[in-house]
């Protein structure tokens, strides 16, 4: 496997007449946690959506995932190749039970270890086990985010995309969640690409980072370096 699990080159995207991305390039190394920082409207969500070829946005550019060009692969095919995406707003199935959500997470898998994996995520998030027969829509925001992450991990992804996982959650829950991300990254070796407004927390678990400004990459480098960068501190860390 190449060193970079994900390579994005010259990504342009637009919604109708509005250009959102103007030539984004980024690389994610296998095994690392990478974050994309940026203000509202900078194009963070669009970047993630373009990477896994979600509808509505039309994009051009090359995207290489685990050495293969996936620029023209449909979302289902990309998921089958080992990418999982937790979208903003979580992307759970509100009418289905917690257990069914996890079963659907393993939809592309054909092995018979699905139940073992469900048990594993139930151990990681015991509250989900308590709520396994409850409709996902009735879970609290934090529980839904845990479910969304477990749902994504059920496909045993090589790369996990997380779109603003902290959105709408209480600070203490956010800290727990990021600690869990770090643990999953270390234990499972799952590479993560996280889009986040909570820059401090995101940089604390990441190895590398990008700053997106009005549709293009303004800054990039190791997470520690960006954390010390005066421009980043002023704009995103509230220093």
């Amino acid at each position: 496997m190449s060193e970079n699990i994900l390579e994005v080159r010259d990504l342009q995207a637009s919604y109708g007449q509005v250009d959102v991305l103007r030539g984004v390039a980024l690389e994610v190394k296998t095994g690392e946690v990478c974050v994309i920082l940026g203000a509202n409207g900078a194009g963070k969500t669009t970047t993630l959506r373009s990477i896994c070829n979600m509808p509505i946005v039309s994009s051009t550019g090359t995207i290489k995932f685990a050495g293969e060009d996936i620029s023209n692969t449909d979302t289902g095919g990309i998921v089958a190749q080992g990418m999982a995406h937790v979208p903003q707003g979580r992307g759970t199935f509100p009418e289905l039970s917690t257990l069914e959500n996890l079963q659907l997470g393993a939809y592309v898998r054909k092995d018979n270890e699905v139940d073992d994996d469900i048990d594993r995520w139930f151990q990681m998030f015991p509250v989900l086990k308590e709520r396994k027969d409850q409709a996902a829509g009735s879970l609290s925001g934090g529980e839904q985010q845990m479910l969304a992450v477990s749902r994504a991990l059920m496909s045993r992804p090589k790369l996990l995309l997380l779109d603003e996982p902290s959105l709408g959650l209480a600070p203490i829950i956010i800290e727990d969640l990021f600690a869990t991300f770090k643990q999953i990254n270390q234990d499972e070796g799952t590479t993560m690409l996280i889009v986040e407004q909570n820059a401090n927390l995101a940089l604390s678990i990441a190895q590398s980072a990008y700053v997106l400004e009005t549709g293009s990459i303004a800054l990039s480098g190791p997470a520690a370096q960006l954390r010390d960068d005066p421009a980043v501190q002023e704009a995103y860390l509230g220093a």
């Binding site: 289902g76 998921v79 199935f93 509100p94 659907l104 997470g105």
Partner: protein, 317 residues
């Protein structure tokens, strides 16, 4: 009292017919959140297929003819979804609903051209040929008979059979939707299309599956009710309106709700119209029997748009 009981029985008998048509409609609504106005006509053409196989052309066993008609109806439904609907943005309901209206007229005219707008004679009754209960259905026990039995009531044997068939249909759908991977994917698409794509579900294929399933069960329903309401191209015209009211009453996305809704609509219709027709000055109202389901539809949509068992799209955030 006997009259009252008879009206309840008549209502339930008709209700089973409405349920049988409302259930496939709900399946399509679950998959696509749109009303398929062609549902009744697609079911009607399915009943004609079975009629052709069993009577007009091949003298097939009616059970075999039914299965074959269900398969063809399923393929037809999948073909319509694939060729006419797939290319449209599914969230833009207007063109899609207009297309289903177009399909309604095309299928109706097509059937009218081939089979004329007259009731067919010798329509086979699927229930009579079923193993075990078929003999009993035909044997016309002294209690379930088209004549008045010793309680002074008319309870037609094939209505009892229809209710039984309805329960079997519901169980089959329950198993398909809740115990198979395809069914889980179907409910996933129904719940959140975007998330479905993100777990790798090919949404188009699932919509196809939904249309196929709905049309197969629609055909089965039409084959079951054809001996009661006559087999002819317009057989579903009024039934469709009642079924729509039934589906709305049950909540549009609840299969069980639609089944129950059918019975409720049948009951209310029979009892209320029955008594209105007893009042001389109001009896002309019964000349417009379709008034009732339309009014019920309006009342449900006005006061409880999600129906009895429908999903409210309210979530905790």
């Amino acid at each position: 009292m006997t009259l009252f009981l008879q009206r309840i029985i008549d209502g339930l008998q008709n209700g089973a017919i409405y349920s049988v048509v409302a259930i496939p409609m709900v399946l399509i609504f679950k998959a696509t959140t749109l009303i398929n106005f062609a549902q009744g006509e697609l079911a009607m053409i399915g009943a004609f297929f079975a009629f052709v196989f069993a009577v007009q052309a091949f003298s097939m066993n009616i059970i075999l003819a039914t299965i074959l008609a269900m398969v063809i109806a399923a393929l037809l439904g999948m073909g319509i979804e694939r060729t006419m609907l797939r290319s449209f943005d599914p969230t833009d309901h207007l063109p899609v609903v207009l297309i289903t209206l177009g399909v309604f007229y095309i299928v109706n005219a097509f059937a009218g051209d081939i089979w004329n707008y007259q009731a067919q004679a010798n329509v086979p009754n699927l229930l009579y040929d079923l193993p075990l209960i078929g003999d009993w259905m035909q044997g016309r026990s002294s209690f379930f008979t088209s004549e008045t039995n010793k309680l002074g009531l008319r309870i037609q044997h094939d209505s009892v059979g229809l209710v039984g068939a309805l329960l079997i249909m519901l169980s089959a759908l329950h198993v398909i939707l809740n115990r198979t991977k395809m069914g889980l994917a179907f409910r996933g698409v129904s719940s959140n299309t975007e998330a479905s794509r993100l777990v790798g579900i090919r949404v188009g294929r699932i919509l196809s599956f939904g249309w196929g399933l709905a049309c197969a069960f629609g055909a089965l329903g039409a084959i079951l009710v054809a001996p009661r309401i006559t087999l002819q191209p317009n057989m579903m015209l009024t039934v469709l309106v009642y079924a729509l009211a039934a589906a709305a009453f049950g909540g549009l996305d609840s299969v069980g709700g639609a089944a129950l809704g059918g019975f409720v609509v049948g009951l209310l219709n029979s009892v209320i119209l029955g008594y209105i027709s007893d009042v001389d000055r109001l009896s002309s109202l019964t000349a417009a029997p379709l008034l009732f389901p339309v009014v019920l539809l309006l009342v449900v949509l006005w006061f409880k748009p999600t129906g009895l068992f429908g999903t409210k799209s309210v979530e905790r955030v």
